[in-house]
């Protein structure tokens, strides 16, 4: 991994960081690079409430806030920002205000790298709106002051249209931290992780490959 001065991670939901880039985050932190995680919502509208349910629609935000803090702790993130928006409403916020929130983070932290979703290829409307806001905020900077922008994509058409990811991080050395981060988001991941237990036991290559190889695409600016 290239050495970075400061990394800024921007996602809308607690657990968005866990699956795609938590190993990358842990690797940067282990190498001494400060990482700030800005999480826009508390995932208030998550459909998983436990099975049998241990949460309600109203208690879920408090539970997910705690899970987010636990996940951040397990990765070593000491600068966690919760931006206070509401799940599934990000795309309906005022675009300019949303851009300003991201711009002020960039101004404060002057990150050398920003990690977010890839606009157009990240499925959930909140992912898309977050990604667009980050792109707008970076675009507003003079070119020589723009941080690198690396994106998570997982729509069904992402490889066909973007090509293979140009950045693949092998995060095997911090795999345990990644699994701890995923486990921390218990309300959302418990059922899925239960199905993994056996596969992890027998070191299923497909699952381990998915966990150990984190895939990112460098954002391609549209030609002007």
């Amino acid at each position: 991994m290239e050495k970075e001065k400061q990394v800024l991670v921007v996602f809308p939901h607690p657990d968005d960081e866990a699956f795609g880039v938590s190993g990358t985050i842990a690797s940067y932190i282990e190498s001494g690079t400060p990482v700030t995680y800005a999480c826009l919502t508390l995932g208030e509208m998550g459909r998983n409430l436990g099975n049998p349910p241990f949460a309600t629609r109203e208690s879920l935000p408090k539970i997910r806030k705690k899970e987010l803090q636990d996940a951040a702790d397990s990765l070593g993130i000491t600068d966690l920002r919760m931006l206070g928006l509401r799940d599934k409403t990000v795309e309906f916020e005022d675009d300019g205000e949303l851009t300003d929130r991201i711009s002020s983070l960039i101004q404060e932290l002057t990150p050398s790298l920003i990690i977010t979703f890839y606009p157009g290829y990240s499925v959930h409307p909140d992912h898309e709106a977050t990604a667009r806001a980050v792109v707008r905020a970076v675009e507003a900077l003079p070119v020589n002051q723009q941080p690198k922008l690396q994106c998570v994509a997982f729509s069904n058409n992402c490889v066909a249209e973007l090509g293979e990811p140009d950045i693949i991080h092998d995060i095997t050395p911090v795999q345990d931290k990644k699994i701890a981060a995923m486990k921390a988001h218990r309300s959302q991941t418990e059922a899925m992780l239960a199905t993994w237990a056996e596969k992890l036991e027998v070191e299923d290559p497909e699952l381990l490959g998915w966990i150990q190889k984190e895939r990112l695409w460098t954002y391609q600016w549209p030609e002007k």
């Binding site: 509208m45 998550g46 459909r47 998983n48 409430l49 436990g50 099975n51 049998p52 349910p53 309600t56 629609r57 109203e58 208690s59 935000p61 599934k88 499925v123 959930h124 409307p125 909140d126 729509s155 069904n156 059922a191």
Partner: protein
């Protein structure tokens, strides 16, 4: 939340009748439904803190249940409800959870606005 007990829910619905109440009503297939199955038509609706007064309300059906609230000049209803809780703030939280525990519908009634 626990499986709906119809009489208890009916009593709670009755206590909120003819008063200003705040409603949360939501239906959802989840944001990934069309990602996992591209032929799936995803639809849902959401309203939070609608201030209404209902003349009467009723829970009907036999797990899952339906709840309808008759307003002075309109209606509110939800179907597919199977779990409930009266929380520490006295709010009636009704939800429909699918076979894997995922929320598909919610109808909630409170005397104070939801956060």
């Amino acid at each position: 939340m626990k499986p709906i007990e119809r009489d208890e829910v009916q009593r709670a619905i009755d206590t909120f009748a003819k008063r200003d109440v705040f409603l949360h009503l939501e239906t959802t297939n989840g944001a990934y439904a069309s990602h996992h199955d591209e032929s799936f038509f995803s639809a849902g609706a959401y309203i939070r803190n609608a201030k209404v007064q209902y003349e009467h309300g009723k829970i009907v059906g036999d797990d899952p249940y339906r709840v309808g609230l008759k307003l002075e000049i309109g209606w509110v209803y939800a179907e597919g409800l199977n779990h409930f809780e009266i929380d520490e703030q006295g709010r009636l939280l009704l939800a429909g959870l699918d076979s894997t525990g995922k929320l598909a519908v919610a109808l909630q009634i409170s005397l104070q606005p939801f956060e």
